[in-house]
Structures are given as structure tokens and as C-alpha cells.
Assembly symmetry: C2
Homo-oligomer: 186 residues x 2
DNA sequence: CGACACCTTGAAACCCCTCAACGACTGTGG
DNA sequence: CCACAGTCGTTGAGGGGTTTCAAGGTGTCG
């Protein structure tokens, strides 16, 4: 159902780069690069189909729409990483958490497993910490603040948006970068 | 000669996502996405050629190697953003700076305007601050520490590697993600 | 010379981390 | 059935990295 892509660091820390939900590519980034220094970890049970790099590239020659669609997927992945980058660079812990929970909600809504009320979220606070560049302890405190502000509650594997609109305003969340209309095909 | 891609935030901060050097695509990310919420800013005089999204997509149908090469470029861009993400998430200010200066050095070396001795660098400390998620004041202090450690000197528009090997070790820099061998073409 | 951009330094405050401890829950083996 | 280990969540105290505020210095360019 869900996985995450991460990189381990020499000092034992790790940084989660992004999470994948049903319908997402896994490891698209490394198809053409000679290196793949990231690891993928399942969070829940998953179901995957494999496609070889050669086949994928080969298919480009036969179908230009496929090439375009794959490039679109790669661009969208990168846009998410960029937004994630902005999280880490210029938002504090509580804003990061708010923004992250909203982004995941938007993505899950698109595939029908979430809405503005909330969604099922199998992540632990340690996952959030590794994704957001925080300590697990601080994630806990930040989640409490969000709860006490009446914005969002994350408990028992569920995210509940207590006040979706106020949360969006608080986090400065604009889902445009998720490009939920799909690839532009001529 | 150089540009940077950044995003302004509501509170007046901004986050630089990456820098472009000669030979790089500008705005590839937004070709297929409906949105382009990033801005591009010239740092030095630049020379660009324009290519329309339609022409690019159209070319995919005629030349599969081109589609592959463009996807490779997008993947490489993303790999750099990912490494940048790890910088912000799990490295402190001085390691971030060291890693960043090494990455830029590697990229410039590839196009022949740098080596392990150093390179010309037209960035201000404010650029570094916006890229690395730090305050300009702290960038200044961190640069001083790197200088006093005898690792690298950044002054008067030049980066001098005082001890390249020790700097690489200090920053944990591994240029593999830059994939400097170019796209894998069957 | 004045305006401006950039660099430098100090002091105080703040955000977040580390360390430490404990409670709730789950699964496991005796 | 119960003791035990393991994972996850929660909370407190103390310390450190970084920010903000403030001021002054240098260089360039009109």
C-alpha cells in the first residue's frame, strides 16, 4: 500500500525523501542514472509490477505519449521533492508537519482513500521525524500543538483534519505543485 | 553564465532550489506540469536558447534517444534536489556549506571551469543562505570555521579548496549522484 | 561624497536536540 | 496464563546550534 524512499547517512541518521502511494512509480529516478544510492522500504503490504529499464526506454521509440507521460511523472516527483525541500529549508517544525499532512491528504484524496475530513495513515512518528528532518521527540510535541490549536489530530493510525481551512491557511498549502490534472498531452 | 531557481514564501523568506550552470536546462520541470510556481533569477550574464514545450514533446516521437536524454537530465536534476534535501534535513550548517561547495565544484569541473584547487564563484553569502536554509549571518560564521579549519576559503568571488581531500571526508561528499558519465543509451 | 550592496562581529533569545524515564500496547515463549 | 521483550507514544530537563537584532566595516559606483 505504501513505501518510502530514503537514504542512510554515515552517522546513523536517515532522511526519507518521499513516500509512495498506490499508482506511483518506485525508483523511476534511478532508471537512467548509473547510481541508485537510495533504498526503498515497505510501510504496509504492497503490490508491485516490475518493468525493466531497457523495456521502458525501448517503449519510448514506439509511443511518444508514453515518453511524455513518464517525463511528466518524473517532473511531478521532482516537484514534490522541491516542496519537501522548502519544508526543510524555510518552515519550522509545526508548519512542516501541517504542510506534510496536507500534501499526503491531497495525494490520497486523488486516489480515493482520503478527503478533507482525514485519512488512514500508517506512519509512525519516527517516519515523520525521518521525513521532516526532526527528532521523534519533537514531532510528538509539534503534533500536540497542532492538536491543541484544533487544526489536525494524528492518532491511532488516522489523520483527522479538525479544521481543514484553517490548517491550509496555517501551513500556506497550495496543492498546485501536485499537478493533479495529469500530464499535458497534445 | 549562472542562474538560480527559487521560490518566494509568504513571509518574505525565499528558498533557492538549485543553481544552473552552462549546459543546464532551465525550467525543464515545468514543461509538462501545468504550474510553474518557481522563479528563475540570473546571477551573471547568461545566454539561453528557447525551446517550446510542444516542439520538445513533438521531438520525442522522432527521436527516442532525445526522449531518453531529456528524462536523464530530469532525473539528474532531481537527484541534485534530493541531495540538497538531505543537506537541509540532516546536516548542520558547516557540513551543508562544505557539501554544497564541493558539489558546485564537481559540476563546474565537468564543464572545464573548475578543478580540485578551486573555482570562480559569483555567489554572495545571501545566495548561500537562501539555498542552504540558513541566515546570512550564520553562513558567514560557518565559512569562517571552514577557513580556520584549513579546508576551504570563499572570498572575493572565488572558492579555494585548501585541502580538497580533507574537505571531501569532512562533508561526506560522494559525487556519484551527479552521474557525470551522462545518460545510459542503449 | 553619498548611496548601496556585501561582509563581519557581538549579544541575547529561541527552536530543536539529546538524554532519560515511563506508560500503553503487541507479540512471543515458557 | 503470565513474564518478557520490543515498538511506539509521551513528557521533562538541560544544552547547543541557529536566528534575530544591532552595529560597524569595506568596496563600488553614481
Amino acid at each position: 500500500m505504501k513505501t518510502d524512499t530514503y537514504k542512510d547517512l554515515p552517522n546513523g541518521d536517515r532522511q526519507i525523501v518521499d513516500f509512495q502511494i498506490p499508482g506511483d512509480f518506485l525508483g523511476l529516478r534511478s532508471v537512467l542514472l548509473h547510481t541508485s544510492d537510495h533504498s526503498i522500504e515497505p510501510i504496509t503490504d504492497i503490490e508491485v509490477s516490475e518493468i525493466s529499464a531497457d523495456d521502458l526506454i525501448d517503449a519510448f521509440s514506439k509511443n511518444q505519449r508514453l515518453a511524455t507521460a513518464v517525463l511528466w511523472a518524473a517532473s511531478r516527483d521532482e516537484a514534490m521533492v522541491v516542496e519537501h525541500l522548502i519544508d526543510l529549508g524555510r518552515r519550522n517544525a509545526i508548519e512542516r508537519l501541517a504542510h506534510f499532512l496536507l500534501e499526503l491528504g491531497s495525494r490520497l484524496t486523488l486516489i480515493g482513500t482520503g478527503n478533507t475530513t482525514g485519512y488512514a495513515c500508517p506512519l509512525t512518528q519516527y517516519h515523520l521525524a525521518d521525513a521532516l528532518g526532526l527528532s521523534a521527540v519533537h514531532v510528538n510535541r509539534a503534533l500536540r500543538q497542532l492538536r491543541e490549536k484544533g487544526l489536525v489530530t494524528f492518532q491511532n493510525g488516522r489523520v483527522n483534519f479538525d479544521s481543514y481551512d484553517r490548517l491550509v491557511a496555517f501551513a500556506g498549502f497550495d496543492p498546485a505543485y501536485l499537478d493533479q490534472k495529469g500530464p499535458f498531452l497534445p
